[in-house]
Amino acid sequence: MPAYTLNVNGRQTEVMADASTPLLWVLRDDLKLTGTKYGCGIAACGACTVLVGGVASRSCVLPISLLGERSVVTIEAMATDPVGRRVQDAWVATDVVQCGYCQSGQIMTAVALLKAVPKPADAQIEQSMGGNICRCGTYVRIRQAIRNAAQPG
């Protein structure tokens, strides 16, 4: 079983894993970072979204062998990221969550959006968040929280 050196949330770490293992399961089962969720395994729901090299990515379909040198950032690092913290605070203030299972992925996607587009228009929000499923149906509040997080100051 090959060894891989990863940079996850700013820390170097080494794991032994089958080359086909999706990043999701390395995060969850090897690194015990269970904030990143398994929802579908086919990149159709967004629950597993993390930042890979700064880009919002579906960790459930990214084999560990294809990660290369790219850094990985997960929900666990968001409280100390300025945009991440702002998004989390907006989520809490807007009382977004219900069951909460998809929200790590929603927040990671929103963080990636706001890092690229600090003040997104509603259509940009809908487009960027368009691949993340929330079965509880918190979309109205997600839209609102992103608008709130995008406000200056």
Partner: protein, 717 residues
């Protein structure tokens, strides 16, 4: 007094309400050792933190916030120091109405509002009595606020400093509850207690459980429901690194091959390499198109009589021009909670421990005990947070904990986490049943219906299930869940006949959020809309006229909706139309309005409004969220790929590709929620907002296309 004696006295005095359970508990989610009674529900820690046990599952609906808020309000606890925990399985946590520990029927608040108020008020009374004794003053001269008791000479004591003495006091039999004007939390927009943990990744769900020595198990499930393993070649699968064991287990229906491995991915790889031959002999191969033919044919004749009011021959006397004959089709629907199904069990021979995102702890605990040959009390049962449910975790046969226990039985001493993949979930059955409806409705000269003959065809959830609720929910051979929304309609139709056929089909079924109302409300609300259209009346005015005089739970939200949406409904842009529907679910009335246009041959929903009457609105913020979420859940019925279909016994969808849930773009950006002011006893809000939205949307579509939509999902407009 010795603690054990105290607990026994409590138990005798209050019928078991305050029995401590902490000695049975040992896990990650273990309640802290009780330091203050009623210690099964409230613990006051020395640092002032107040830990409140929630006696049912939190899976998004918000009882994890609402029940503690109710208790804390009566207790005058400092809300900023309240922490909530999900209680383990124990008699003391049984729902006071159901007699089981469970959540269902949107009954958490209606069934436990009084219970949690009394718990809070009794705790407060004991704290006051302790302070009064210390200060040698009459108790009725003491006051409480924010976890502090204040005496007549301005003495003050923190709850945390009184708790251990208060614990030795008798629990009062009767206490005065607050009047509504005294509420501080009830009726206010209290934010969720679990938000931060669900936003920073720290909230552990059942699937996140990590126990020492734990193994992950996947099941190779039968390709046709009920099939059994005929032969198994696991040589290739066993070569996958990390695989610990592979063996066959019995399922509730048929059998499966369990793969036990160190991690999910190794279990998944091994499962993919199994070569299994299945015994399909004697099994019905359910097939959606054949079932439709059968169902539609059955719908032409009356089934078992569910409701017979007035004269059912009236309909035959009405001239065809004054009759509507309508046939409806509703497919199998998957619940698809975002957290895939799971349960963790460790079997130690003479006892077991289980960690389950369980909707009915009592029944799931019994199921595990039966598989393991134990008594239920030998199974320590922890309630894990669940990533949604929507009916999928309803314990009609408790098959998920059953499967986990069957694997654990073979792996003694090893905690086994059974995980269903998304494919397992989409293909694994336990759907909302298919239904066909056929309705003949006769219309009087005034445009109001005079007679209705309604036949409902679909599998029963309850008949033959052996479920605890079967005796209550099956009457004269009719599953009451299948007819709710029609049989209990609040519309005053004088000659009203409802009957049902319950064919047996080899597809396991489960309730889907709002259960029978998912299809019955659609039928009733689209037909009533058609009647209003024929009568050339406003759809709200028509409904108000048709409602029975005592239908106040629908009347109030309809009137509120009429007021609050008139401006936008009557000023819609070109190409938009408004649609209306309403629904009463377990005494909660909901009325819904939508603004719809057509884009790319699909409905585009620009705005929805919900008016709801839940009696006392315990937490208006949660009610708002549940209404918004319920609307979106209801819209999932209309998605082009909403259906689960079967071909020769095989489910045709696999994952979120062939089967699709609403994404953000499929849902209205604005969902306004208007709550009817009321002092009536509180009713539920989790399921009631679901049924009305789908008929409201197709009622709007009719205004755009002139077509009535009676087959779901909506394929083409």
């Amino acid at each position: 007094m010795h603690r054990r004696t105290f607990l026994q006295i409590c138990s005798a005095a209050v019928g078991g309400l305050f029995v401590s359970t902490y000695s049975d508990v040992s896990s990650a989610q273990q309640p802290s050792p009780p330091t203050f009674p009623p210690d099964a529900f409230v613990h006051v820690r020395p640092d002032g933190t107040i830990v409140i046990q929630v006696n049912r599952l939190e899976f998004g609906q918000g009882t994890h916030t609402a029940l503690p808020a109710i208790l804390a309000d009566e207790m005058d606890a400092d809300w900023s120091h309240v922490v909530a925990e999900l209680a383990p399985a124990a008699d003391v946590y049984k729902d006071p109405v159901f007699g089981l520990q469970m959540v269902g029927g949107s009954a958490s608040i209606p069934n436990s509002f009084q219970q949690y108020r009394e718990l809070g008020a009794k705790t407060r009374a004991m704290l006051i009595a302790t302070a009064a004794e210390r200060w040698r003053v009459p108790a009725d001269q003491c006051h409480t606020s924010n976890s502090v008791v204040t005496g007549p000479a301005n003495q003050s004591a923190r709850y945390a400093d009184l708790a251990s003495d208060a614990a030795r006091r008798p629990i009062p039999d009767a206490v005065r509850l607050k009047t509504p004007s005294e509420f501080r939390l009830i009726g206010t927009r209290v934010k969720r207690l679990d938000s931060r943990a669900k936003c920073d990744g720290s909230q552990k769900f059942g699937l996140d459980l990590d126990l020492s020595g734990m193994r992950t198990a996947l099941l190779a499930r039968p390709p046709v429901f009920g099939a059994r393993v005929k032969s198994l070649d696991d040589a290739d699968a066993r070569s996958v690194a990390g695989v610990q064991d592979i063996f066959e287990i019995p399922l509730v229906h048929g059998s499966a091959v369990a793969v036990v491995a160190d991690k999910f991915w190794s279990a998944k790889q091994a499962r993919d390499r199994l070569k299994v031959e299945w015994d399909l002999s004697g099994l019905e191969r359910a097939d959606s198109s054949r079932l439709w033919t059968q169902y539609k044919s059955l719908a032409h004749s009356a089934g078992k009589i569910a409701v017979q009011r007035g004269d059912d021959r009236t309909i035959d006397l009405i001239p065809p021009a004054n009759r509507i004959v309508a046939e409806f089709e509703f497919p199998y629907l998957a619940h698809a909670p975002m957290e895939p199904l799971n349960a963790t069990v460790r079997f130690d021979g003479d006892r077991a421990e289980a960690w389950v995102p369980s909707q009915a702890q009592t029944l799931d605990q019994v199921a595990i005990a039966e598989v393991l040959g134990l008594k239920p009390e030998q199974v320590t049962f922890h309630t894990e947070y669940a990533g949604g449910g929507f009916g999928r975790r309803t314990p009609l046969d408790s098959h998920i904990p059953h499967e986990a226990a069957a694997i654990a039985k073979r792996m003694r001493g090893v905690p086994i986490k059974l995980v269903w993949t998304r494919e397992d979930d989409v293909q694994g059955g336990y759907y909302r049943p298919m239904f066909a409806h056929r309705v003949e409705m006769g219309i009087g000269d005034d445009g109001m219906p005079t007679a209705s003959k309604h036949v409902i065809v679909g599998q029963s959830w309850m008949i033959g299930s052996g479920n605890a609720f079967e005796p209550f929910l099956v009457k004269d051979g009719v599953d009451q869940l299948a007819i709710e929304g029609t049989a209990d309609t609040r519309y005053a139709i004088p000659n009203f006949h409802v009957s049902a056929h319950h064919p047996t089909v080899n597809v396991p079924v489960l309730q889907w959020r709002s259960v029978g109302y998912t299809h019955n409300t659609f039928v009733m609300e689209t037909l009533v809309d058609e009647l209003a259209e024929r009568a050339k009346m406003d759809p709200i005015a028509y409904r108000l006229r048709l409602l029975a005089a005592d239908a106040k739970k629908l009347r109030a939200p309809l009137i509120l909706l009429q007021e609050r949406t008139a401006t936008w409904r009557h000023n819609l842009p070109r190409g938009h139309a408004a649609g209306i529907a309403c629904s009463e679910y377990h005494e909660t009335g909901v009325a819904c309005a939508v603004d719809v246009s057509i884009e790319n041959n699909r409905p585009r929903i620009h705005r929805a409004a919900v008016a709801i009457d839940v009696g006392v609105a315990v937490n208006p913020l949660t009610i708002e969220s549940q209404c918004q979420g319920g609307v979106i859940f209801g819209l999932s019925q209309l998605m082009a790929k909403a259906a689960i279909t079967l071909k020769e016994g095989h489910v045709e969808q696999r994952n979120f590709d062939g089967f699709q849930l609403p994404y953000m773009k499929d849902t209205p950006p604005t969902i306004d929620v208007h709550i009817v002011p009321s002092g009536d006893k509180p009713t539920g809000c989790g399921e009631p907002p679901v049924p009305a939205i789908a008929p409201a949307v197709v009622n709007a579509l009719f205004r755009l296309t002139g077509k009535r939509y009676r087959t779901l999902p909506l394929s083409t407009l």
